[in-house]
Symmetry: C2
Subunit: 260 residues, 2 copies
């Protein structure tokens, strides 16, 4: 039976604990600097809590540094264990952990909410070990919680992280801008929710460029000008509107040329 130890008490830590708890993997304990939060996390999953990093058991199979990028190196340097130590960052090199004998990366491509009801089975997990054997251990672990394990090198993982920022952070920011624009006009963002859900679901079975519609895509200058007039007193959204409309026009022209 594989045993794991989780360092951290944020959303990544909790989602990992929740996912592994439904498998045959033993969660040997959790460590967190914040004693109150760490205790409550440990109780939630009925596992031992360690508030001192020097007391962390040394013989677990895998240690998850489910921490912010900034905290990973510092905590790793204090962690003296024999098992495989991995971080869960999309951007950091595995070599930030090279003081360990066994190290690697275990990065799920997902943005975790407080709500633990994520269907982990469909979440791709990108893994990388410092040896063939360590990669195999991570693969065996990831296999237990997802149907989608990806063995990727550092460049590939960083490219995916960047793309994840584009489709998650930037998309969410478009929601923020639309929400704020509608609020300032006493209109409810709720009216856009069915459209937002449909926009995401549409690209499950359709290539994104085939799903594109709207004024910029059809070069409808009238509508684009009317929108820009509406945004005359909203320079921030106006700027984003112009940059993205121009980028769509550029792409739709490219697609037109490909069709000629």
């Amino acid at each position: 039976m594989l045993s794991i130890f989780i360092l951290g008490n944020g959303r990544m830590a909790k989602h990992l604990a929740s996912a592994f708890q439904q498998t045959d993997v033993q969660i040997a304990g959790v460590y967190a600097r914040d004693e109150t939060k760490g205790n409550s996390f440990a109780k939630q999953f009925n596992v031992p809590f360690y508030s001192s990093i020097t007391k962390v058991p040394v013989q677990c199979d895998v240690y998850f540094l489910a921490l912010s990028d900034q905290a990973i190196v510092g905590i790793s340097e204090q962690l003296k264990v024999q098992g495989l130590v991995v971080h869960c960052s999309g951007m950091l090199s595995k070599f930030v952990l090279q003081k360990q004998k066994h190290f690697g990366v275990f990065w799920p491509i997902q943005s975790f909410s407080e709500n633990l009801n994520v269907d982990f089975k469909s979440v791709p997990i990108c893994i990388e070990g410092n040896s063939e054997e360590n990669t195999r251990i991570l693969e065996a672990l990831a296999d237990r919680i997802t149907n989608n394990v990806q063995i990727l090198n550092e460049n590939q993982r960083q490219q995916l992280h960047l793309a994840a920022v584009v489709v998650n952070n930037f998309t969410n920011h478009l929601y923020v801008l639309a929400d704020s624009f509608l609020k300032s006009n006493q209109l409810s963002f709720n009216l856009l929710k069915p459209l937002i859900i449909e926009t995401a679901h549409k690209i499950i079975n359709l290539e994104p460029h085939l799903a594109q519609t709207g004024p910029a895509n059809r070069n409808d200058i009238n509508t684009i000008e009317m929108h820009q007039k509406i945004l005359a007193h909203n320079p921030e959204l106006l700027h984003v509107y112009q940059i993205l409309s121009n980028s769509i026009i550029l792409h739709s022209n490219k697609n037109m040329e490909e069709c000629l």
Copy 2:
């Protein structure tokens, strides 16, 4: 029993036909310029097809101009009927139809795919008639296919249309850019799909600004610089990356100030 007539054979026309077919509303016929497509559309819904606009029956209750913004005025001027004539545009004024005695707007806030399985019941429909009575007729019609009828004036509808472009067209364009970036690095866009679905679903119960995560939101300059290096040979995505990251930083600072 209310009777309607549909002009157009695009996705809006088909989704309206599909939605009304499941109600007590009678679809008296469809008109389209393209005889082959129009005939096939009429057969699909088992309703009469009219290829000549002068032969369209004059006594239906409501006529839907489910046409592109460019075609609406031209077709409306040829349409000589007694009933209420509406267009389905988010941007056009109802007054483009003012040669009709009874006119209005019937705009569902949704981007319709070829696939007809949209759950219309949750799609907000924005209506506006040129008289109280005509607004009531449109309300009665919309009530039959959705649980979310909105009586909005022109300004409000145009503001919503703009916001819909932001959350639909611009979001989809971010998918296009991410897809194209990943393809150029031999990585599959499929890896992002679970994240894309989660990103959309997250804001159903959470205000968008509370759902924001990522390097720009936490002012993580290291990651932002690494991403920009990765994009050194991709000026288009780099530009979008910078504009949206800056806009996120601006917003997260605003939220910080509000907390102080």
